[in-house]
Amino acid sequence: MESEGDKEAAMTHASRVTRQEPKDEPIVCRCEEVTLPEVVQAIREGYDTVEELKRHLRVGMGPCQGRTCLPLLARVLARETGRSLAEVMEEISTRPPLIPIPFEVWRGK
C-alpha cells in the first residue's frame, strides 16, 4: 500500500506548488492571482456578472472563499457597468463550507 512519502506528497499544500511569475498590476483575488486589468478586460468582453467572472477567471474560488476579493470585485464591476454596488453584491452566491474543513472531520469516526 501507500508509503509515507506518497501520503506526504498527497497532502502537500498548494503553497508549495509553483505558480505564475509575480505580477506588477494590482491583485484583486490573492488566492487565484487575478489582477485588476484581467478583471476589467473580462467585464469588457461581456463577463459582466459576479457569477460569470468567477467561472471565467476563477476569481473568488480560492481557499478564502471570496471573502477578500468579492467585495473588491463587486466594486470594480459596479464601476465598469454603471450598476449600483447593492445590485452587484446581491448576485454573489455563497457555497458551504464557510471555511475549508478536512475530509476526516466530515467523515467523523
Partner: protein, 380 residues
C-alpha cells in the same frame, strides 16, 4: 433581438454551445442561443468534467468514443486551452456481480474498438498507488478516457460561434412556445418573440418544462447530484476514479484540486439545488475508504447540479414526432459533457442535410414506446 432565426437553441450549456458552433461552421449562422441565466449556469458548469467511454450501451460507448476523438483536437480548433487530460478512468468494483458486469462491459467495449481492460486489484493499485484495495474485487481501465474543464469548453465553443455570427442572448427566458399544425411557429421570450426555422431543446434539467410549452411530454426527470472540491494539492493522480459499487467519482483538476461526488440513492426528482451535510459525510466516508491518505485534505466548497434523467439513461436526440421543427437534445442523465461534441455533430449534420444518423434514429423520443434496456453504469 433578432425577430427571425433559422435555428433557436434553448440553453447555453455544453450542448447548446457545441451545436451553435457546429451549425455556424457548416454555414448555418442565423442562429440564436437563448439562455435563462448565463452560459454554464446549469448542469455543465456544475459537473465534474469527466470524459468517459466505458459505458454499457452501444450508443453511449459510440457517442463517447466519437467525443473523445473531437476533444483531442478541440483546443486547437477553438483556440482555447480546454485542460483536456487523457489520464484514463479507473472503475472500481467490490462484489462478484459487479466484476461480472465489468467483464461483460469490457467485452462489449472491446467489440466496439475501445481499449478498456479488466484489472486485478493489484493492477489497479499500480495505476493509483494511493488506492486502498482491501475491498476491491476488480477494476476496469481505459487509458483514453479523461477529463476537461467545462467552462473552457463552453467558452471556446461560444466564442467561435459568435465570431461566425451566432447571437447569444443571456438572461433571456423562454416563456412559451407556440405550435401550429406540425411546427413551432413562435418562441416567446422575456425579451420578445422570435419566429424560428427550427427550435432546439437543449435546456437540460428544464427540458421537460420547455417541451411541455409545446404540448410534448418528455419522460425526463430532474435529479439533484451533489459535488465538492478541495484545496489544491500537488499533482498525484492523472486517472479519474469511479466506482460502480457506490457511485462515487473523483479526479484531480489541473489546478490540483480534488473534485468529486457521489449519488445518494434516495434522491427524489425535483429542482432542489441545495447542499447537504449528508452528501458531504457520505462522500468523505467513501472517498477515504478508497484513498485514506486524503483525510487531512480540506473541502473548499460544495454545490449541486441537476441530472436530466431518462428511463434508459441515454439522451433524447432529434426531431419530435408531430412537431418536425422541434429538435430534442436533452436527457443526458449525467453524461452530457462527455458526449456533447459528438451529439452536436450528429444534430448539425441532420439540421444541415436532413438525414438522420443511425444513432439519432435509435435515440429518438419514439423509442420510449418500446421496451427499455438502459445504461447500467451511472455514477455521481
Amino acid at each position: 433581438m433578432r425577430r427571425t432565426a433559422d435555428v433557436v437553441i434553448i440553453g447555453a450549456g455544453v450542448t447548446g454551445a457545441a451545436l451553435a458552433y457546429e451549425l455556424a461552421r457548416r454555414g448555418i449562422r442565423n442562429v440564436v442561443v437563448l439562455e435563462r441565466r448565463f452560459p454554464c449556469s446549469g448542469a455543465t458548469g456544475r459537473c465534474g468534467g469527466g470524459i468517459r467511454q466505458q459505458f454499457t450501451t452501444t450508443h453511449n460507448i459510440r457517442l463517447a468514443m466519437e467525443s473523445v476523438e473531437h476533444y483531442g483536437t478541440l483546443a486547437e480548433e477553438l483556440g482555447v486551452d480546454i485542460e483536456f487530460i487523457q489520464g484514463g478512468y479507473l472503475i472500481l468494483a467490490e462484489t462478484e456481480e459487479e466484476r461480472e458486469a465489468q467483464r461483460k462491459a469490457v467485452a462489449l467495449q472491446n467489440d466496439l474498438g475501445l481499449p478498456s481492460r479488466l484489472l486485478t486489484p493489484e493492477e489497479a493499485a499500480e495505476i493509483l498507488p494511493l488506492l486502498d484495495i482491501t475491498t476491491i474485487k476488480s477494476a476496469t481501465y481505459c487509458p483514453t478516457d479523461g477529463h476537461a474543464n467545462p467552462f473552457r469548453v463552453v467558452e471556446g465553443y461560444l466564442r467561435r460561434a459568435r465570431e461566425l455570427g451566432v447571437v447569444l442572448e443571456k438572461f433571456t427566458e423562454v416563456v412559451d412556445l407556440e405550435p401550429r399544425g406540425e411546427r413551432i411557429v413562435e418562441v416567446r421570450t422575456s425579451r420578445g418573440p422570435i419566429s424560428p426555422g427550427l427550435v432546439v431543446n437543449a435546456a437540460g434539467a428544464w427540458s421537460g418544462e420547455i417541451s411541455r410549452m409545446a404540448g410534448v411530454e418528455l419522460p425526463n426527470k430532474p435529479v439533484r447530484h451533489e459535488i465538492a472540491i478541495t484545496e489544491p494539492v500537488e499533482f498525484f493522480m492523472e486517472v479519474m476514479v469511479i466506482s460502480i459499487h457506490n457511485g462515487i467519482y473523483f479526479s484531480q483538476t489541473m489546478e490540483g484540486q480534488i473534485i468529486g461526488g457521489i449519488g445518494l440513492p434516495d434522491e427524489r426528482p425535483g429542482y432542489n439545488l441545495s447542499s447537504s451535510l449528508r452528501f458531504l459525510r457520505t462522500y468523505s466516508r467513501e472517498l477515504l475508504r478508497y484513498v485514506p491518505a486524503l483525510g487531512q485534505l480540506s473541502v473548499l466548497r460544495q454545490w449541486a447540479g441537476l441530472y436530466d434523467v431518462t428511463p434508459d439513461a441515454q439522451p433524447i436526440l432529434g426531431p419530435t414526432p408531430g412537431l418536425e421543427n422541434f429538435i430534442q437534445a436533452n436527457g443526458y442523465s449525467g453524461h452530457g459533457f462527455m458526449i456533447a461534441p459528438a451529439v452536436a455533430r450528429h444534430l448539425a449534420d441532420y439540421i444541415e442535410k436532413g438525414v438522420k444518423s443511425e444513432i439519432l434514429e435509435k435515440l429518438s423520443l419514439e423509442r420510449f414506446k418500446e421496451e427499455i434496456r438502459g445504461e447500467a453504469f451511472v455514477v455521481g
